[in-house]
Symmetry: C2
Subunit: 404 residues, 2 copies
C-alpha cells in the first residue's frame, strides 16, 4: 500500500486570501452600491510594454517557420538571456558573476519553493516573521519544519526571526546555529530594505557558520536608496554563501508570462560539493526550460527601450506608493516600507488587530488590504497595502482612508 | 554547517548524449565533407501550425492592453483550457474525468519529475528497463533508489521490470510488492504499446496492492491501433489508482513552448488522504501557473482547425516512421515500435553492442541514433531511431542504411 508524504498533513490551511474573498463578497452583497477598491493584491495591473510585446510577436513568428523554429530550450536558459541578465544585473554593478552562473526559470516562486531540494532533509531553517509563505510551506513539505504549534502559530523546528517596528523590520541574527536562511529584501510584506552594511553582516554570519542564504531579490527594481544593494553579490564573500533569486514579475509585469532566474555561484560549495552542479542537475531532471518566446521577452527587458519602459512601470507604481505613504501619514498612521518597495506596511491604529482593521477599512471605506497576521504571528497589529493598482483607484482609496 | 542532499551523489553522470555529441563532433572533424543526419533526437522539427500561431499573437495582443492584460494565472490552469482538455481528451472518449481533475503545467517532464514528492520517502518504486531517465533520477534525488550498483548498472532499491524482444517490450508484473509504478505507453524508447486488456491488468494489480500508477501518456497522439487505449481511465478502476501525465510537445510541437497536464482523480486516495488535494497544494506552493499566452495556444490545439493541423503533424512524422520501418525490414533488421509511436527500436545486427552499432552507423552511413543501453541495461543490443526529422533527411538516412 502506497504511503503519502505525511509532511503535507502538517501544512496549515491557506485561509488568508479565501477569508478575505469571503468577507469582501459578503460586504458587496450587503452593500450593492459600494465601489470596492482592492489594495491587497500583489499582482501587477499595467499591461506589458511595447518593446516586450514586439519581442513576443517576433519570437512567435519565428516559431511559425521551420527555418527559425525552436524546440527544447537549453535546460538552464538560452545564452542570449543569461548574458543579458549577467551584463545588466551583475557586471554593470561590479558583481563578479558569470553567464553560466545564471539559471533561467519560470519565476522566483518556483525557484524559492524548489531550491531547498538540494539541501539535506535535516537542515535547520531560519525565516523572518512575517514571511512570504512559500519558504515555510516548501520546507514543511520536505519535513524540515516539525509540527505546527497552534498556541504559537509557528512550526516547532523552524527558527523564526522576528521583524517588528522595534527593529525596523530588520531581523537579528539567530541565536542558534542554522543551515539555511531565507532573506527577502526589499521585503514582502513589510517593504523594509537592508543597507549594504547590514546585508554584509548576514553574509559574514553565513560564512562563519557555513550556512547558505537564499536571497530573494524579487523587488530589487523598486530600490531607490543608494545605500541599499541591488544584489547580495555586492557584499564581500557572498559568492561563498548565497543563492540569489530574481523575478521579471514585479519590474516588467511578467506575473502572467512567468520568467525568473536563480544565481548559484560556482564558488558555493558544501561538503566539497558544488551547489551549482547540484542545481544544474535538478534543473536538468525536473525542469525543461522556459519558453523561447518568453526568454526573448526577457531579453527585451534589457534593451535600451525596454529599460526605459520598465522604469516607467516602476515609476508608475512608486507614484502610488508615495501617495499612499503621504496620505496615511497625514491621516496619522505609522507607516513603513513604500520607499524601496511597492508595499506599504502600516501599524493598525488604536491597538486594533490586523483583522479588526481589515473589517474597519472594508466596512467604512470599501477598501481591501491584507492583514499582517496572515504572514506570521509577528505581523499581528500590522496591515499591508500595495502600490500595484491604478493611479485613480489608489488615490480614491487613500482619500477615503483619510476621511475615515 | 549546511549539509547537502547526499542522494544527489548517487546520481550517475548523464553521459549518453554528451558521449554521442563528442563522437559525432570527432567524426565530423575527421570527415569534413560527411553530411551527418541525426535520427537520434526526441525533439520535434516542424514549426507550430497556423492556428496555434494565431492564438499566440492574439493572446500577446491581450497582454498589451490594460483592459485585457492578465497577471497571475490560476495555479491549476485557466478554466478555458481545463475544460477543453477534459472535453476532448476525456469526455469525448467516455472517460469520467472532471475539469477540476486536470492540473495544467509546463510539461510532462516536470510533472513526471515532481509527482513523486507527494509520496512517502520510503515508497518502493518500479520502473521499466529500458526507461525514460527522469523517473529514475527524480527518485534517486528523493532517496528512494538506494545505491547504484556498477556491476548490474542498476540502483539497489528500485524494482526493474525488464522489457525485451521476448516479452514484446511489455513488462511483467513485479514479483515483490511495489508502491509506485511508472508506465509510459506508447513507450519511450521502445515504441511498444499496451492494449486496453493489458493495461487493465496493471490497473487491477495496482488496486489489489494499493499501488499508484504514474501513467505517462506523452505519445498518445501517435496511437493508430484501435485496441490501444488513449487514456488509462478507459480502464475500469483506474480513477482509484492512477495519475496520468500528458504533454503538448509531441502532438502539437510545443517542446519549446512548454505545456502539459496531469490528471489526478478525486477518487484517488491513500491513507484516507486525497492525492488530488496534495497535488493541488504542491502546485500552489511550488509552481505559479503556465503562461496565459501558452494556455491560449493549448486551447487552440482543440479547435476544429487546430485538431486538423495537429493531425497533419502526427501524420507527417508517422510517414517517416513507416519509411524507417519498411526500409529497415527490407534491409533485414528486426524492428519494433513505429506503429503507435514515433520511435523505432531495432535489434542491433550481428550481436553488435548498442555502442558498436552506433559507431557502425555513424562511420559507415553518417547517421546518428541513440544506443539502447543508454536507457537501461535491458536496452543493450538495441538502438533507437526517431521519426521527428524531415521527410528528406529521413529518407536519405534510411537509404544509406539499406546500402550498408
Amino acid at each position: 500500500m502506497l504511503k503519502i508524504n505525511e509532511n503535507y498533513q502538517k501544512l496549515q490551511g491557506s485561509y488568508l486570501f479565501s477569508t478575505i474573498a469571503k468577507k469582501v463578497a459578503k460586504y458587496q452583497a450587503d452593500n450593492a452600491s459600494a465601489k470596492i477598491i482592492r489594495l491587497g493584491i500583489g499582482d501587477v495591473t499595467r499591461p506589458l510594454t511595447p518593446t516586450i510585446i514586439r519581442a513576443l510577436h517576433s519570437a512567435v513568428d519565428e516559431m511559425a517557420d521551420e527555418k527559425t523554429f525552436r524546440g527544447y530550450a537549453p535546460d538552464l536558459g538560452y545564452d542570449f538571456l543569461r548574458k543579458a541578465i549577467c551584463d545588466n544585473d551583475y557586471r554593470a554593478r561590479g558583481c563578479d558573476i558569470e553567464d553560466d552562473e545564471i539559471f533561467v526559470s519560470d519565476g522566483a516562486k518556483p525557484d524559492s519553493g524548489n531550491i531547498q531540494e538540494i539541501f539535506s532533509a535535516d537542515s535547520k531553517v531560519a525565516v523572518c516573521d512575517p514571511v512570504y509563505p512559500v519558504y515555510v510551506d516548501s520546507n514543511v513539505m520536505a519535513g524540515r519544519a516539525g509540527d505546527f504549534d497552534e498556541a504559537t502559530g509557528r512550526y516547532t523546528n523552524l527558527v523564526y526571526l522576528p521583524c517588528s517596528g522595534e527593529n525596523g523590520f530588520r531581523p537579528e541574527m539567530p541565536r542558534e546555529d542554522v543551515d539555511i536562511i531565507y532573506l527577502c529584501f526589499p521585503n514582502n510584506p513589510t517593504g523594509a530594505a537592508l543597507t549594504k552594511d547590514e546585508l554584509q553582516q548576514w553574509v559574514d554570519y553565513a560564512n562563519s557558520k557555513g550556512s547558505v542564504i537564499i536571497f530573494d531579490a524579487a523587488y530589487e527594481a523598486y530600490i531607490s536608496n543608494e545605500s541599499v544593494p541591488h544584489s547580495i553579490y555586492e557584499c564581500s564573500g557572498a559568492k561563498e554563501c548565497a543563492i540569489e533569486l530574481h523575478s521579471f514579475s514585479k519590474n516588467a509585469g511578467f506575473t502572467g508570462l512567468r520568467l525568473g532566474y536563480a544565481v548559484v555561484p560556482k564558488d558555493l560549495k558544501r561538503q566539497g560539493v558544488s551547489l551549482h552542479s547540484m542545481w544544474a542537475r535538478r534543473h536538468g531532471t525536473k525542469y525543461n526550460g522556459a519558453p523561447y518566446i518568453v526568454q526573448r521577452a526577457g531579453e527585451a527587458v534589457y534593451s535600451p527601450e525596454g529599460k526605459r519602459e520598465i522604469q516607467g512601470l516602476v515609476d508608475y507604481y512608486m507614484e502610488n506608493a508615495k501617495y499612499i505613504m503621504s496620505g496615511l501619514k497625514e491621516a496619522g498612521y505609522t507607516v513603513y516600507g513604500g520607499v524601496d518597495s511597492p508595499y506599504i506596511w502600516l501599524a493598525t491604529p488604536g491597538k486594533m488587530s490586523s483583522w479588526e482593521f481589515f473589517d474597519h477599512l472594508l466596512t467604512k471605506a470599501s477598501v481591501v488590504g491584507t492583514p499582517g497576521v496572515g504572514f506570521g504571528s509577528c505581523g499581528e497589529g500590522y496591515f499591508r497595502l500595495t502600490a500595484f493598482g491604478s493611479h485613480e483607484s489608489t488615490r480614491e482609496a487613500v482619500d477615503r482612508i483619510k476621511n475615515l
